[in-house]
Amino acid sequence: MKDDTPSAGTPRTVPVQSETWSNQVNAEIRRAAATGIYDIRGGGAKRKVPHFDDLLFLGASISRYPLEGYREKCETSVTLGTRFAKKPIELKIPVTIAGMSFGALSGPAKEALGRGATLAGTSTTTGDGGMTPEERGHSDKLVYQYLPSRYGMNPDDLRRADAIEIVVGQGAKPGGGGMLLGQKISDRVAEMRNLPKGIDQRSACRHPDWTGPDDLEIKILELREITAWEKPIYIKVGGARPYFDTTLAVKAGADVVVLDGMQGGTAATQDVFIEHVGQPILACIREAVRALEDLDMHREVQLIVSGGIRHGADVAKCMALGADAVAIGTGALIALGDNDPRWEGDYQKLGTTAGAYDDWHEGNDPAGITTQNPDLMARLDPLEGGRRLNNYLKVMTLEAQTIARACGKNHLHNLEPEDLCALTMEAAAMTHIPLAGTDWYPGKPGSTF
């Protein structure tokens, strides 16, 4: 009879963890089974998706000559709203601060964003929940969001704004509304939104008084009439169908299109939504630029892109792909102190760790940014926060300039697709930038695949 008992020293199969049923997946199933509730969190997509890291700049060579380090001029300014607005917005740098709501963020955090943006010569943006006086007062250029919820929306603030951003969607949740859980509804937040204190506030996913692009065109007419055609009107869309959304936004009369990819942050949304709906920003930019070119509107209608923009190289890559400016949310919060290891003890108490903290909706942010708790809020000094944000914006700009000069460009806007190569087939296919070492990208006219 054969003996199946492994004798000592016989090699055995090592335990194998499943790629499909990973520890994280299994833990989430156990959590779901125990609670019956889906996971809600803040932030953007955490999984790896094709991104700007999949592109590289080529730099100068015999056929392209560079500009000298920090001595030769490399301009960074951008003007937004040149199509129809009587008063376009002039920014010193092409990095803007994205819309983040008062309610999701504390008053001092909003103030810090305004201070930092103003020091850097750029704009900041309100969010769901309306405009606060601190924010208006400390922001030289303030974009006022016009959202489906219309929380805090009023014509005086509309007239006080420097531009108006009609929010159709967000990259983190194209097709989704918002949620501000009861624990973050302070007296002030409740009053601004005209709702009882302590209840969950849902922000609708659709605008209440227009549905399609034809209605949107009339809505824009109304907003322009109310504000005497002075203010640039932006339309913000999530990265869903960038070619068609850009086309329709232009048709509806936008001065500026804001395109937010799936990595873009949110204050609070279902994790399944954040990770599984919408396209990465890398895949969206070329399609939006193509739409603008097809309409002969590239540079006439400006394109602002966002979603996972971290440093000057990302900025430069966006510009090279054809964007006029970028917007940042998460990066700005990190500059203010979000997820800083100095609060590690507090993160541990919340069952998380610095860098991974994303329960922003619960209002217990150790860094005092995504909270309405006065003790926690006091941890953020808006003056210091503003200085830090300004520094960060300055570094991003210097980095982008460094790359632009190396490519021989005297303005960030002169960066072009020819300055880039792609590291992966996916990035090459999405951007039509040739794969490194070749002159080819998938779908290139004349090639068979």
């Binding site: 009023n154 849902r202 109304e222």
Partner: protein, 225 residues
């Protein structure tokens, strides 16, 4: 009385003239002729003036109004008096969908019927409809009063918050979390004042009151389907 021919002189000139009126203007009476269904008529006003529109209007007439009284002698297109802050808007005819949407204050009086989504996301406005209203009216209505002398369509008051709804006729169906509520003396007093303000020939006692059951106020998975 200032008369403005919209067809001849254009929308921009109209709104610019109306915006130019100061608080203490003595040009308090304006008449707009030939509106012919134009959009964005008399939007963003902020002075105590009286504007009569002699005909029907397109989208967003009287949008975001403050202080002014705007009287439409015809019917109004979608979003009449949307996001109104204060003042009064009167529509002699019918109103299309989303009448008074997101309004924060003031009074909207519709002498005819109003279509779907009347008072959607209302935030403090009083809307008084002599006729009937369409489906999904007062969806996510936050505060203010909606008075309907006729009937209400399907899903009245779906997901509403603290707005008060008074309907004299039938309600085809109530939306999620909207329930009939007891009409207490203070509601009868309030309703009498609203009916009087709206010029309605109706008795408060003939109305039923609807409001939020407040079951959806805090996130509960059993409500999420």
């Amino acid at each position: 009385m200032q008369t403005y021919d919209l067809e001849a002189d254009g929308l921009r000139g109209l709104n610019a003239s109306l915006h130019a009126q100061a608080q203490d203007t003595n040009q308090t009476a304006w008449e707009i002729v030939n509106p012919k269904g134009s959009h964005a008529i008399a939007v963003g006003l902020d002075a105590p003036i009286e504007v009569s529109v002699k005909g029907s209007t397109g989208y967003y007439c009287a949008g975001m109004n403050k202080q002014a009284t705007i009287h439409v002698f015809g019917s109004a297109g979608p979003g009449v008096a949307e996001n109104m802050m204060s003042g009064t808007v009167i529509v002699e005819g019918d109103a299309s969908q989303c009448a008074g949407a997101t309004g924060n204050g003031g009074t909207l009086i519709i002498k005819g019927n109003a279509s779907s989504r009347c008072g959607i996301s209302m935030k403090g406005i009083d809307i008084i409809v002599h006729g009937s209203i369409g489906h999904m009216s007062a969806f996510m209505a936050q505060s203010g009063n909606l008075v309907v002398c006729g009937d209400a369509g399907e899903a009245l008051g779906d997901s509403l918050y603290e707005a008060r709804l008074f309907v004299r006729g039938s309600v085809k169906s109530l939306g999620a979390d909207c329930v009939e509520k007891e009409m207490r003396p203070e509601h009868l007093t309030l309703l009498a004042e609203l009916l009087d303000r709206g010029g309605c020939d109706a008795k408060p006692e003939d109305f039923k009151r609807y409001g939020s059951a407040r079951q959806l106020y805090n996130f509960n998975i059993d409500n999420a389907y």
